[in-house]
């Protein structure tokens, strides 16, 4: 019994492990899988080409993609095809990261955001506008007007592909 009491006292005098969330936030691990983001290239074009492989890989059937064709007048992504509809149902998503693994252009990335709440089921569906990251620097947002023959390939040659 003394031994037990000793443990209690020891813990009571230690610094508490409780963090004052949401004022204090613990950093997430590097491989944490939070809310998805659709990435862009540096020039502002979307990486997503609307191939729907993420939707095919998704075990929870949470992703819905519809594709359309790019033109040089209205270009969303390099190559011919872009996602005209991209929706993820966050209530269905199990954050397994298969979509990230299956993406041929590394367009979808699970980030470190885990704070999501919805008032109703409808708002749990994140549309493309919500998922796309903002353009960086002074790049133009999509759709862009591009020169003919400038962006003809959908799947880029990866210089040093990593896992």
């Amino acid at each position: 019994m003394l031994k037990g009491l000793f443990t209690t006292l020891k813990i009571a005098l230690e610094k508490p492990v409780t963090t004052q969330y949401p004022e204090q936030r613990r950093p997430v691990h590097t491989r944490f899988k939070g809310r998805h983001t659709l990435k862009r290239y540096e020039n502002g074009l979307e990486k997503c080409i609307g191939c729907a492989l993420c939707a095919a890989a998704c075990p929870a059937d949470a992703i819905f993609v519809e594709a359309s064709e790019n033109t040089d007048e209205e270009r969303y992504s390099p190559g011919e095809r872009y996602a005209s509809t991209y929706e993820i149902n966050m209530l269905r998503c199990i954050f397994c990261g298969f979509c990230e693994d299956s993406c041929p252009t590394e367009a979808i990335v699970l980030g470190d955001q885990y704070e999501m709440s919805f008032g109703d089921r409808h708002s749990s569906i994140y549309t493309k506008e919500l998922l796309l990251e903002p353009v960086s620097g002074d790049a133009e947002t999509t759709p862009q007007k591009t020169k003919p023959g400038e962006f003809t390939r959908s799947v880029p040659v990866m210089q040093d592909p990593q896992d």
Binding site: C51, E69, E80, E87
Partner: protein, 831 residues
């Protein structure tokens, strides 16, 4: 029975007919040898080398010629030092084939590595991705890595349009030549060619407009990669995301089996939409093919102008009302004393609709009229194509007479199958007033003047007349099996009646009826005209008078007012018009009650094809809110009139039909869903063998027997030719012909076909145009039956010199040959 050969493939003993190729023999044994350039419907060429296998032949002693035996008594097999192509090597007695040895695996691996040297890895954006032969076979047999340098891949500009319907991606092409061979060998539209050689080889089209073929969509099915894709399905969905629903094409009397791929879409507001139509194998009907009209002509279901509510005329205006109110109004009208009812039904209705309409009509002693310009449904029901007929079985010993039909335009798949029968050795006799695409394959081509169709057939019967007639008559009478296919080229109802009687007489005299591959075949212009005849509807020679005298006219799936102003006038005199329609047609605008109906794709039913094959189709799309099926509306009206008509399900209507309608005794929905063994074996799991078409899991339909098949007494009526009365009229004689891409209600909404639609012109011979001082491209004012129409002029040296041709359902009100006055419109000088 052909000689049988026994061989061993991968330790399995297989017995197949002599001449079978190794790939096919293996497939019969359940062993799949991978192929790219081979297609079971085409001649082998051995271009891709994917089917490399080890082949061993029984060794013979050079001196005695005896088989050499091993020590254990078995025949000694000597294997060739190199691999052989399984798709070009026919089987030999005692042969041994090894498909899974290390040597053949290495061979395949090397071939795939080579094919992939210049293939772009853009599967994620490729429309074929997911049902691609190259993808599948690379996964099964391919090397994981390539030794070739990535930067050496050949780069081309991405998709190049070959015409408006097909896109070509030259990077993806693996040079198997299937598309080129399909166009040359199978459909005789040699519009695709190879350009350059080796790694620079490209597919090009030299036709104007590009890829000018009505079978072009099939090349996208058989293309083993995504080199050829349709514009219609471009980036529309991934193959695995769509559901498949079987259906029957509703555009002509062939009744091609197809699959509609459907998907719910955010773009379309969450609705389920059809993404594409694909062929469904039925070796009795369409084999593995579809024409482009069937493949692309489904867009009308999504058209915005669909009717959704019953309309009732109140104060000279059509206003939406409830179903009950509309029913009530019709009931009141029908219950009136001594009401003269006419039911005018179109060939788009299903057997169930027609049966219920007929029941309703009969209860009021009405007249059941079929809206068609062709006669002879009673004769085809008696001496029509015998049960068990199949164009694929026709060859040597069969004589096929095609009269007054441009099959290529009227029923493309029959054209294809008749052509193939002729190439297999069938005697083909083509009789027409003008040259058609079938002439090239005919043994005898007979020409007559428009109006002389029946006389031509009679001349064949007598065997008298010009030399070519006697020869053709002899060839036709000497055959083992005889078949007459008649169409409506340049014919109205009167001419058609004369012609079909003459055809029937010819068949009866020669004894070509009541057995398979013999009899009469009508090229109906709508999918279910035969069914309408069987259900008791007949065309009316005096439709104008009938409509005029009627008190109540029920018009379903027909637009007489839109087609012909004379009928519109007649309808104005009809007291009460009830219309069953999908769209607000001219006839619907004149109606007193309009019932909105469902499209064929939204409902269940059966069609009876020209070959009298009853085929069922299922609900593909959830129907839009509002419309009902025709059979339901007719049944509910029938119930109000005290009949026991069935409105719950077409299955139950069919149960009544098979009790009451001759020939339909064996038809039930469950029997219609029976499958049949078919060759080639195709399956979705191996799209490389016969393309991406679908196997038939849904039933091939049942060909119903003719009266002659059943041994019943025939009542063919008097098959006497009435000499056609020479019409005395001035002006140009204009005759109607059928064009594939007309401006019909179901075709116009398909934007993709817009450029291929038949021009709205009078087609005439230069000699005739000279007489009226007309030139190609002129605009003319045509006076026809009191109306004036503006039309174009097109010159064609192939048409007869004394008549002008005009396409049906193409904006020109014509149902039978007429004389018109024309006047050239002088273009106004530009200001």
């Amino acid at each position: 029975m052909a000689d049988m050969v026994t061989l061993k493939i991968d330790q399995q003993i297989v017995t197949v007919p002599a001449g079978t190729l190794i790939v096919n023999a293996a497939r019969k044994a359940g062993i799949n040898i991978p192929v790219f350039c081979y297609h079971p419907k085409m001649e082998p060429v051995g271009m891709c080398r994917m089917c490399l296998v080890e082949v061993g032949y029984p060794q013979r002693d050079r001196v005695t010629g005896e088989l050499v035996k091993n020590e254990d008594g078995t025949t000694k097999i000597s294997f060739a030092p190199k691999l052989e192509t399984g798709c070009t090597t026919p089987v030999v007695e005692g042969m041994e084939v090894r498909t899974t040895t290390e040597k053949s695996n290495e061979g395949r691996k090397a071939i795939l590595e080579f094919i992939l040297t210049s293939h772009p890895l853009d599967c994620p954006i490729c429309d074929k991705g997911g049902e691609c032969a190259l993808q599948d076979l690379t996964m099964l047999h391919g090397p994981g890595k390539s030794r070739f340098i990535y930067d050496d891949k050949k780069l081309f500009a991405k998709h190049v349009p070959l015409g408006e319907m097909i896109l070509l991606d030259r990077e993806r092409c693996i040079q198997c030549g299937l598309c080129v061979r399909f166009q040359h060998e199978v459909v005789d539209d040699p519009v695709l060619h190879f350009y350059q050689r080796g790694r620079s080889l490209e597919i090009r089209t030299y036709s104007e407009p590009g890829f000018d073929s009505i079978f072009s969509g099939n090349t996208t099915d058989i293309c083993p990669v995504g080199a050829l894709t349709t514009v219609d399905f471009h980036f529309a969905a991934r193959p695995w995301e769509m559901e498949r629903d079987p259906s029957i094409c509703a555009h002509c009397a062939v009744g091609c089996n197809l699959i509609y791929n459907i998907r719910r879409e955010a773009k379309s507001g969450g609705k389920t939409v059809i993404k594409r139509a694909m062929p469904r194998q039925n070796e009795f009907v369409n084999e593995l093919w579809l024409c482009d009209k069937g493949r692309l002509g489904y867009h009308y279901v999504a058209a915005a102008e669909r009717l959704t509510q019953p309309l009732l005329r109140k104060d000279e205006k059509l206003v939406p009302v409830s179903w009950e109110e509309a029913y009530q109004r019709v009931e009141d009208k029908l219950r009136a004393e001594q009401v003269r009812l006419v039911t005018l039904a179109g060939g788009r209705l299903t057997n169930e609709d027609l049966f219920n309409f007929h029941q309703l009509n009969q209860s009021q002693n009405g007249k059941a009229v079929l809206y068609s310009q062709m006669a002879g449904g009673d004769l085809t029901a008696q001496i029509g194509l015998g049960k068990g007929s199949n164009f694929s079985d026709m060859g040597k010993g069969t004589a096929i007479l095609v009269v007054a039909s441009d099959l290529h335009e009227e029923a493309p798949l029959w054209w294809l199958r008749v052509k193939q029968a002729a190439q297999r050795g069938a005697i083909l006799i083509v009789a027409n007033a003008r040259p058609t695409r079938l002439d090239k394959f005919a043994n005898h081509v007979l020409r007559y003047e428009y109006g002389q169709e029946a006389a031509t057939i009679n001349a064949l019967l007598d065997g008298k007349g010009k030399d070519e007639f006697t020869q053709a008559a002899k060839a036709f009478s000497e055959a083992e099996n005889g078949l007459v296919i008649y169409g409506s080229d340049g014919l109205g109802l009167n001419g058609s009646e004369q012609l079909v009687k003459a055809c029937a007489k010819l068949l009866v005299e020669r004894g070509y009826y009541g057995k398979p591959n013999n009899g009469l075949l009508a090229v109906w212009d709508k999918p279910n005209i035969q069914g309408a005849w069987d259900m008791g509807f007949h065309p009316d020679r005096n439709l104008k008078g009938t409509l005029r005298e009627a008190d109540v006219a029920m018009i379903a799936a027909a637009d007489p007012a839109g087609d012909n102003p004379i009928l519109a006038q007649a309808l104005e005199e009809t007291d009460f018009v009830i219309v069953f329609e999908m769209f607000m047609t001219e006839t619907a605008k004149m109606a007193d009650v309009v019932f909105p109906v469902q499209a064929q794709i939204e409902r269940e039913g059966t069609y009876t094809s020209g070959e009298r094959r009853v085929q069922r189709f299922d609900i593909v799309l959830p129907h839009i809110e509002g419309p009902k099926s025709d059979y339901q509306i007719a049944a509910q009206l029938g119930r109000l009139m005290g009949l026991s008509t069935e409105d719950r399900s077409p299955v139950l209507v069919m149960n009544k039909i098979n009790e009451k309608v001759k020939g339909y005794q064996e038809i039930t929905y469950s029997r219609l869903a029976e499958r049949a063994e078919q060759w080639p074996l195709i399956s979705r799991a191996d799209s490389y063998y016969a393309g991406t078409g679908y196997e038939n899991e849904y039933g091939v339909g049942i060909q119903i027997s003719s009266s002659a098949d059943r041994g019943e007494e025939l009542s063919l009526g008097t098959l006497i030719l009435v000499e056609p009365q020479e019409e005395v009229a001035t002006g140009i004689k204009v005759v109607p012909v059928t064009a594939l891409y007309d401006r019909g209600q179901l075709i116009q909404p398909s934007q993709i076909l817009a450029k291929r639609l038949t021009p709205q012109v009078l087609l005439m011979h230069p000699v005739l145009s000279k007489k009226y001082q007309l030139q190609d491209g002129d605009q003319i004012k045509v006076k026809v039956a009191g109306n004036e129409i503006v039309s174009g002029v097109k010159l064609d040296a192939d048409v007869p010199q004394d008549v002008a041709l005009v396409a049906r359902s193409n904006g020109f009100p014509i149902s039978s040959p007429v004389f018109v006055q024309i006047q050239r419109l002088v273009p106004e000088p530009e200001a």
